[in-house]
């Protein structure tokens, strides 16, 4: 199982990009035949830089996050972060061109449990979701990608702020083969206490067998 191999990129703990530097340098998302099975993304989606596909990507990301154990609120935040990231790639990376390629890759991350968690075998469980978004668009120095001053009320510039606000870690880097890479991680754990609060379900994709799947993901305790 992947969780037993600590050297693979997605399993770095709080800093997803550090162990993934090699993969980043190789621009792996577009050339993943060179990767071993452990390094390959569990889910990979290629999408063109067209806003009409955003809704479909959001639905998929929400469903995936819920399958990895997130609550509805956290899962919708993952979808929001990915949506905002894709918007930025479409607008700034590809200057609204409709033929730019974007690859979204997802890994479950196995981490040590937080304090007070009573997971029996946490090392084998997904405790976070790692998402990478690669493009071949214009490159920008990562330090120049900043959210704007929020006190300045004006349209635009909110996407990066939203991404940083809802995800636990966010890292931009230039891909050596061209384009940018965004790596984001969100922990699965807060979903347990956050709950769904009886909010009406937008996606309704958590599945009728959620009892069973939750048990297998969260452990028997």
């Amino acid at each position: 199982m992947n969780a037993t191999n600590p050297s693979q990129p997605p399993h770095s703990h709080s800093s997803p990009g550090s162990a993934g530097a090699d993969a980043a340098a190789s621009g792996a998302a577009f050339e993943d035949s060179r990767l071993s099975a452990d390094e390959r993304a569990h889910v990979e989606v290629r999408v063109l830089s067209q806003p009409r596909y955003l809704a479909g990507v959001r639905e998929m990301m929400t469903a995936l996050a819920e399958r990895l154990g997130m609550g509805e609120g956290a899962a919708s935040q993952v979808a929001l972060a990915v949506d905002e990231a894709l918007c930025n790639v479409i607008r700034h990376g590809y200057d609204q061109r409709p033929d730019g390629e974007i690859v979204i890759s997802v890994w479950p991350v196995a981490e040590t449990p937080r304090d007070g968690a009573d997971r029996a075998d946490s090392s084998a469980e997904a405790s976070a979701m790692l998402i990478r978004i690669d493009d071949r668009g214009k490159q920008t120095e990562p330090e120049r990608i900043r959210s704007r001053e929020l006190s300045e009320i004006r349209p635009g510039g909110l996407g990066v702020h939203i991404i940083k606000e809802v995800m636990d870690s966010v890292r931009y880097e230039k891909r050596s083969g061209g384009g940018m890479r965004l790596t984001m991680v969100k922990s699965v754990w807060p979903s347990a206490e956050a709950g769904t609060g009886g909010r009406p379900s937008g996606g309704g994709r958590s599945g009728p067998e959620s009892d069973g799947s939750n048990t297998s993901l969260h452990g028997a305790g």
Binding site: Q50, P51, R52, L54, A55, R58, S76, L80, D83, E84, C87, I90, R91, L150, I153, R154, P155, G156, L158, G159, H161, I162, E165, V166, R199, G202
Partner: protein
């Protein structure tokens, strides 16, 4: 996304949006709201009760509308935000910048 504009009176225009507001739909919304604000109604109510999702492009559209409305002496009121949509405004720290109310009747009475 669908946009319904009720502008039977110069005093009050109600814009009701249905569907997700994201990068694929926000430009259409922007055009419609610009057109409405250009007529300088006294009050513009934007009903978001049927908007399950909004991203920053939708928020940016509403920020622009607010700024245009202020210039034209129009009072802008957002109403009936779903939790998920409201949270975007909170994350962007814009929830206190807009006038946001729970329901249409409150929006009308302001």
């Amino acid at each position: 996304m669908q946009i319904d504009v009720q502008d039977s009176s110069p005093d009050l225009v109600i814009v009701t949006i249905s569907g997700d507001v994201d990068l694929s739909t926000s430009r259409e919304l922007q055009g419609e709201l610009r057109r409405v604000v250009a007529n300088h109604p006294q009050k513009l109510i934007v009903d978001l009760s049927d908007v399950p999702y909004m991203d920053s492009s939708g928020v940016a559209t509403l920020v622009e509308t607010m700024q245009l409305a202020r210039k034209g002496q129009t009072r802008l009121v957002l109403t009936s935000l779903k939790e998920r949509v409201r949270s975007i405004f909170e994350i962007a720290r814009l929830d206190s910048v807009f006038t946001i109310v729970d329901d249409l009747s409150t929006a009308r009475s302001l």
